[in-house]
């Protein structure tokens, strides 16, 4: 499996002239106090691809996702071991600043969580604190392009001063995506981004994910296997804190190699 992936990565690298593997994670363990939540996960995350993490509740997929931008740091009892390399640099190295890291690795959460401020403020917040724009005009431009990329500009361009929380659920989630891409990250992590949305809003977000793939590496945790099948190129199946199987989405969903994977995706778990 690994050799296959690295050779794929090399193929990409030759094609575009830049390294295509964004994250290399090897032997990642996460402990919450005494409890081992992740037991040695190794996975590569490639640029311009959507990697879906699936698995039953409590399998560690969200925990793994949160390792990638060190969101686990906010949990006092969490301890992470193993190596997580972003473009070859270990993100758990002492020299890596977590604030900078989170600007490079953006995150979209399960429940749409816009700040209770105006739409404009929501998108402009990240660039402001990172000092990406000093002039108002620059900030305006960032807000506009981010909202356009998130496919929300046409719907909100005439009411940027209204509260972000006044939007519909689907719009809120796209606003959160716009907020994440406003700081021009390289990787976007999505933790069940559609679980609170209706099917139409879900379809919009999925369409957006597919468009964003052109410029970012995307990792998405989802409970909907159909969604994983629809949006991702690679799928990794987590179970009991371990990756049971990972590979091309097509293969995972038509011909999984592991029985546990098959049982899970066909609805036979028990």
């Amino acid at each position: 499996m690994d050799t296959r992936q690295s050779s794929l990565a090399e193929r990409h690298a030759v094609a575009d002239g830049q390294p295509q593997v964004k994250f290399v994670t090897r032997g990642v363990h996460v402990y919450y106090g005494e409890k081992e939540a992740i037991k040695g996960v190794s996975l590569d995350i490639l640029n311009n691809e959507v990697t879906a993490l699936i698995g039953p509740s409590g399998c560690g997929k969200s925990t793994y996702l949160r390792c990638l931008n060190r969101m686990n740091d906010t949990v006092d009892s969490a301890r992470v071991t193993g190596s997580i390399l972003l473009d070859g640099t270990d993100i758990y190295d002492k020299k890596v600043d977590v604030v900078q890291l989170r600007a490079r690795v953006g995150m979209v959460f399960q429940k749409p969580n816009p700040f209770p401020k105006s739409i404009y403020e929501n998108v402009a917040y990240g660039p402001k604190i990172h000092g990406l724009a000093t002039k108002k005009a620059d900030l305006d431009a960032i807000v506009e392009t981010s909202l356009k990329k998130a496919g929300l500009w046409n719907e909100v361009s005439d009411r940027l001063e209204t509260q972000g929380t006044a939007l519909s659920g689907g719009q809120q989630q796209r606003l959160c995506i716009a907020r994440a891409i406003a700081v021009s990250p390289e990787v976007i992590l999505m933790d069940e981004p559609c679980s609170a949305l209706d099917p139409i809003a879900t379809a919009r977000v999925e369409e957006l994910i597919d468009e964003l793939r052109e410029n970012y590496a995307i990792v998405i945790v989802t409970h909907s296997m159909q969604q994983a099948a629809r949006v991702s190129q690679k799928t990794a199946f987590f179970h009991l804190g371990d990756i049971v199987e990972h590979g091309k989405t097509e293969q995972i969903f038509t011909n999984p190699r592991e029985e546990r994977t098959r049982d899970y995706i066909t609805g036979r778990f028990g």
């Binding site: 006092d76 900078q100 600007a103 953006g106 979209v108 700040f115 209770p116 917040y125 990240g126 990172h130």
Partner: protein
Amino acid sequence: MTDTSRTTSYLQSEEAARRVKKRYAAEKRFRFYGLAMISIGLIFLAILFYTIISAGLLGFQSSQIKVQVPLTAENLGIEPGASREDIEAISGFKLTKLARASLHTYLGLADGDRDARARSDGLLSNGVDTQLRDLILDDPAIIGSTVDVWLMAHGNVDPFLKRQISRDLPEERRLLNDQQLGWLDRLAADDRAALKFNTNLFKMGASADPELAGVAVGLIGSFFMMVLVVVIALPIGVGAAIYLEEFAPKNKLTDLVEVNINNLAAVPSIVFGILGLAIFINLLEMPRSAPVVGGLVLSLMTLPTVIIATRSALRAVPPSIKQAALGVGASKMQAIFHHVLPLAMPGILTGLIIGLAHALGETAPLIMIGMVAAVFDIPGGPLDPATALPVQIYMWAGLPERGFVALTSAAIMILLAFLLTMNATAVILRKRFERRW
């Protein structure tokens, strides 16, 4: 299948119907109890308000007697066109005598009738000299003319004009004898004795005469202390709460601090008074009876409340907001100060209101630090001696004169008004915060 049908038939049976009826009856009963409890509460509240307001309204009125006073330069013993200092230097004795003489003239009492004169003097307040002096100071041009002026009546006159004391009492047990009452009736018939609005209540400090006593000193003292509490307890309390909630490492020491804060909120307030006495007055040698010490003591007392309220307000902010901020790369402090704190502000303000209301009504610790002294002069700053509204009420409640009964209730009404104003301000502030965010 059989199970379902059995259940169905049971649900349609009479016994089931009875059970349902019983359940509804229980609910109805509970609603009735609730309503009854609320009614009882409202009735008690109404009784409380009725007692305070009915007694207090009289406190807002004072008996006054209109007298024609010839304010000639000769009578006042000054040159025409005298300076302010000269006017201020007029002896109170002279002014009192002038006012009393004017009343003698009105009542037609002969020079030699010393007894009658003394009795007539008993109708006027001991504070008429100040009243007259203020009148002249306000408008020195009136020197030389005879003014028809309302002067404070003596505290003994007040209950009769307010009809608090029956005239049927035997003369020896009455504060005024038959002659004095006759004069009073004559004055009243002549529209020269009446109840007027009691401006002294808001202008004056402590006094042994009810007609000259006021809450001004207490009001100002309380105001200074509340300002101090807001300035000291709010930033310290909020800061401590943020640190404990968001930054403090979770260990035994933090737990200990937490337990102590929770316990401090339950410590009797008098303990804070003893603490204030020991530290601020004995150790730091701060002035006694000063609002600054009172404010510090009340701040200490309010701190735990503010800390606890702030912590629960911070905890009530959905963690998703903080995560969102961290997710776009905000530092922990930025996430808290930009997003969490503003959302917690309404809750913090609510806690502050509760703390302030508590502090405003506090008496015991203030007594400990000497704010129970009778202060006559309006304090100019927080370092001047003052008293507090609740202490003033406490002191008046212990005085025997009839007039102080009404004054006590009136002061309670003022205290309530103070409290309502303070709460309204906080509610408006909170509303503004909610709208901004």
